[in-house]
Symmetry: C2
Subunit: 354 residues, 2 copies
Amino acid sequence: MPLENSAYLHAARGGTTPRRTPVWFMRQAGRSLPEYREARAGTTMLESCRIPELVAEITLQPVRRYDVDAAVFYSDIVVPLEAAGVGVEIVAGTGPVIAEPFRTRADLDRLPELSLDALQHVTDAVALTTAQLAGIGDGVPLIGFAGAPFTLASYLVEGGPSRDLLRTKALMHADPQLWHDLAARLAQIAGTFLRAQVLAGASAVQLFDSWVGALPLADYERLVAPHSSAALAAVSDLGVPRTHFGTGTGELLGAMAAVDGGVDVLGVDFRVPLDVGAARGAAGAGRPVAVQGNLDPALLFAPWDVLRADLHRILAEGERAGGGHVVNLGHGVPPTADPAVLARVVEEVHAWRS
Amino acid sequence: MPLENSAYLHAARGGTTPRRTPVWFMRQAGRSLPEYREARAGTTMLESCRIPELVAEITLQPVRRYDVDAAVFYSDIVVPLEAAGVGVEIVAGTGPVIAEPFRTRADLDRLPELSLDALQHVTDAVALTTAQLAGIGDGVPLIGFAGAPFTLASYLVEGGPSRDLLRTKALMHADPQLWHDLAARLAQIAGTFLRAQVLAGASAVQLFDSWVGALPLADYERLVAPHSSAALAAVSDLGVPRTHFGTGTGELLGAMAAVDGGVDVLGVDFRVPLDVGAARGAAGAGRPVAVQGNLDPALLFAPWDVLRADLHRILAEGERAGGGHVVNLGHGVPPTADPAVLARVVEEVHAWRS
């Protein structure tokens, strides 16, 4: 059976890891790597996501360099929006910028459902990538991903990144029916994007709700959780472990663990200890969940002894959590991070149990 | 006794309010008010803070317009830094920008201790303001404020606002002694700024640690809390209630309530219900604390029935908390807020108990 020895898949399914605690990094394929900057030269971010050979190359770069236990598909959370026909650009130093922000019900017409047919370049890229990953050691699993409906909506409604998400929240409260219709459409888009990746060979998925920590719990449960459930339900028949991630979500962890009958892995950022996060997740899901996290990316810039001490804290908390642990950052790799430090983190994590 | 009927001071000292639940808004004096934009025309933000008559006028504007239960001194968290000699500008749409960011121990020399003598314009402005506030109804208390050492340091180190605070956290971990020396200096500056305001007539103080929610609890307790304690200790002999505020601080509320032997009022943002915040605060302080909050500023843009329902939720939670409640936003008034909505919020809060 392919990938039967994968430490990542074992931990994501709630097992204690037989060989070593698995580790990967959100945004491990990206600007922090010189080989990425070289590969990307001359193409925009979104162009690069449409070239299967380039996507496979970029996805594999950190696997080769770091010996991480999983690859994460090189893409961007706005890629499925673009595939559905939304005008979007990724502006360096800013992030995604939407040409015509979502304002009224009429804007729903500019956001058609996404079909698997529109994702041929994604399917091709995943197939190429997984074929190459199969040849590395015992094989390396690929994690597919999508932005969650709330975070996708926040970009559409704000027109770009925003600290306060005032327009998004205003829409949720001023016209809940329009909000639900928008979020349901985005759940269809995100779910289809996840499904395409799994059908083409991805072994796991992660739903990124990066900015959902801006919501109070009651709003999350009423206005967001049903749509995140729908997005994850799109792959529930495919037997892959599903990770749910956000930042600043201390108050939301139980509700996030509970979506679609319970996720497999709960992302925990650096504000909450992993064992505490696992307990909150288990209380929400009604059964144990694995945890993923939770190194503060800022510690990548700290002296090694400080970083190492925090890794040991993380490994101990993850073991104490008892329901499976995948080491990761509490958020994505900063573009200014030193790859040598990430390499040392992977070594340290792997050495801990071996 | 002046202000003996102040609903704000009563609640801030932990009493159930005899007449009405008090309400004020962080950043109530500011860009959302047309009379503010008119008064400020032709002066920069920092210039306006140096003109006592203008400071008094701007501080009083929301009191006249809204009938709020407290005035908050018109200033900016970087004003004491500027008074201490730091080159800083407030750039519209960005925030404070530091001419020469703090990088090394040598930079400490550019950050001398602040003396009360350097704050004559602040003292004058407070005296003018409180004289005018005394003539409104039974008198309206003035809340003095300062930025907390961590948030001040974040601006100095990052050079301006930052989402991730990577440099600030890196400094904390790479050179804890330099961090402690910087934070101690900032505590002296913030404490002196608070003391100047109280000695000149302010009836209460609030320490703003707006961005401290970016830290894990262990780092907060070790690297930040002692300095926030020192800042608040500068007014502990003056008998005024002390409020401690931050955002995204769900995991930190106990530690924030505990500084300098226990604060009087704990600011709670919209992510945590007020009664839950009060319980976390009481557990940290070892005795009940009053709570302040926690309307999501985004709800100012929601339909009135939604906003009204949340105000009733807030009032009920605050009453249930049992240790004193001051209604406020979970963060500052957005510049785009409609003053008519804020006026209606005040009316609704005051009507609730009368």
